[in-house]
Amino acid sequence: MKRCQIKTGFFVLKECGAVAVAQCSNCKKNFCIDHIYGGLQTIQNRKKDEQSGLIKTQTGEEPILCLECYAKKNKETVQKQYQGGYSSVNTTDDLLWYFYMRDSFYRDTSFRPFDDDDKDSIKTHSNDFDDDNSSNTFHDS
């Protein structure tokens, strides 16, 4: 069974992991029902791909997008919708606000969040804390 590959979280990203129902035509990631732009009606009456068991965009159809790709592709539209800040009344999709906000935060602050994939490439160093020469005391007492 395919799992949702959309990264959730803000400072530490991890995959959603819910059961995937469709594939984004832009980033090719599988995603679950919570992360589809437009909701359930977008994929209703569409046929599943026999190999993967997921709903994919066929030729001539409206592209199926995940919320993250929609927020990135339609920055100006989404920005107008949430101009002045989050409004619980304006949005029909709270998660769209969430992905828009996250994407604009990463862009504006150049912050790179931790990712589960990063863990494998990191090794600990035993002398990281012993910095007696530094005037900024980050070592143990």
Partner: protein, 377 residues
């Protein structure tokens, strides 16, 4: 949206959301305070209706304000128009029924004005600070994604306006208000109130046989209060505008509007306190021509204090040049790399309108802390 808009639909939506609030939400609305320990998802379900109600109520209040003034103005114009019409119009016009239309028009307009102002003050009574829907609610939404599943978020949030009595922590004056002036203010207010009541009673008393005596008394009282009020008015002016200038009053309000703590999905513990200190400076002085003027100045100090503790099993300290400015490290304990961040902002203005705190800025401070650590395998 921070700025309210004129929309009649919000009026109906505000009432609808208000009627469907549960006991807990109604209690938060009336006390203007959130306090508790719940999961982020539970907080969202509690605050969702409240934020929607508050947004619509702000728009409805603005709508009532605009409508209230317009209907009052148009009603007054129609009333004056009818009086002029009745005195000066030819008989044929008087018989045409136009006067009846004007009389119905101003009655309806005054009624609408009354309803508008009534709802304006009712919505004002249950108004919540915009920080709830512009900062707190979006923050809790992020915690539903970033927070550890089923972990509790301790939230303490004040939702009354900063310039409330409960937050007043100090008053300093460079003069001593005279007892005579304080009593004159009270006497003038009482006279004006009784005078208005007497005038209303005199003019709108129904025509009942037994009430003729009361009608006469009300008329005499109205006359008495008008004359006495006129005389005392000059005494009051002298008491209020006498004395030495400038008269400076500094009032301090300490507004601890948000305090929360939460555990993130990566076992990081995050807690933050947000305190605003508002200084209101009232200066009464005379200009060279002897005219007395009052000016206000507002100063705001915003303090954000964040404590973040990274689990040593998941994170190691990342040796790099520490950031200048607001970043200070706390002594790490056995289990966690603990960082304390203090951020201060200062604003001053001549009108009491400050920007609501930005969620992006707070997230940026937390991101700085994450930049100090690296994940371990």
């Amino acid at each position: 949206m921070d700025k309210p808009v004129f929309t009649l639909k919000s009026f109906w939506l505000a009432i609808r959301y208000f009627l469907f609030l549960n006991n807990e939400q109604t209690k938060i609305l009336l006390l203007r305070k959130i306090e508790g320990n719940k999961s982020a998802v539970d907080w969202i379900s509690t605050l969702d209706s409240l934020t929607k109600f508050d947004e619509h109520a702000d728009n409805a209040r603005h709508t009532c304000f605009v409508l209230g003034w317009w209907t009052l103005l148009l009603g007054t114009v129609a009333y004056i128009g009818e009086l002029i019409f009745l005195k000066n119009a030819p008989m044929t016009w008087l018989e045409s029924g136009f006067s009846g239309i004007l009389s119905k028009a101003y009655s309806i307009l005054f009624f609408l004005a009354f309803i508008s102002w009534l709802f304006y003050f009712l919505f004002k009574r249950v108004d919540l600070e915009n920080r709830l829907r512009l900062f707190v609610y979006p923050l809790v939404k992020i915690l539903t994604e970033e927070g550890k599943e089923n972990s509790l978020v301790a939230l303490n949030c004040q939702l009354a306006v900063p310039r409330s009595k409960r937050y007043k922590t100090g008053v300093k004056k460079n003069f001593t208000p005279s007892a005579f002036r304080i009593w004159m203010n009270r006497i003038m207010l009482s006279i004006i109130t009784l005078g208005i009541l007497s005038v209303l009673l005199f003019n709108f008393m129904p025509e009942f046989p037994g009430l003729h005596q009361l009608d006469r008394l009300a008329g005499e009282f109205a006359g008495f209060f008008i004359i006495t009020g006129f005389v005392l008015f000059f005494v009051w002016i002298f008491s209020t505008f006498g004395g030495k200038y400038p008269k400076i009053t500094n009032t301090i309000y300490t507004y601890p509007w948000l305090s929360f703590s939460a555990r993130m999905a990566d076992d990081t513990v995050l807690s933050a306190d947000f305190i605003d200190t508002l200084l209101v400076r009232e200066v009464v002085k005379t200009n060279p021509r002897g005219k007395v003027k009052t000016k206000y100045k507002y100063g705001l100090k915003r303090l954000t204090s964040i404590t973040i503790g990274f689990d040593k099993d998941n994170y190691a300290y990342n040796a790099s040049t520490p950031a200048k400015g607001s970043f200070i490290q706390q002594k790490p304990n056995d289990k966690r790399h603990a960082f304390k961040i203090k951020d201060k902002e200062k604003y001053s203005a001549i009108v009491e309108k400050f920007q609501t705190p930005k969620l992006d800025k707070f997230l940026g401070l937390v991101a700085k802390a994450y930049g100090k650590v690296k994940q371990v395998a």
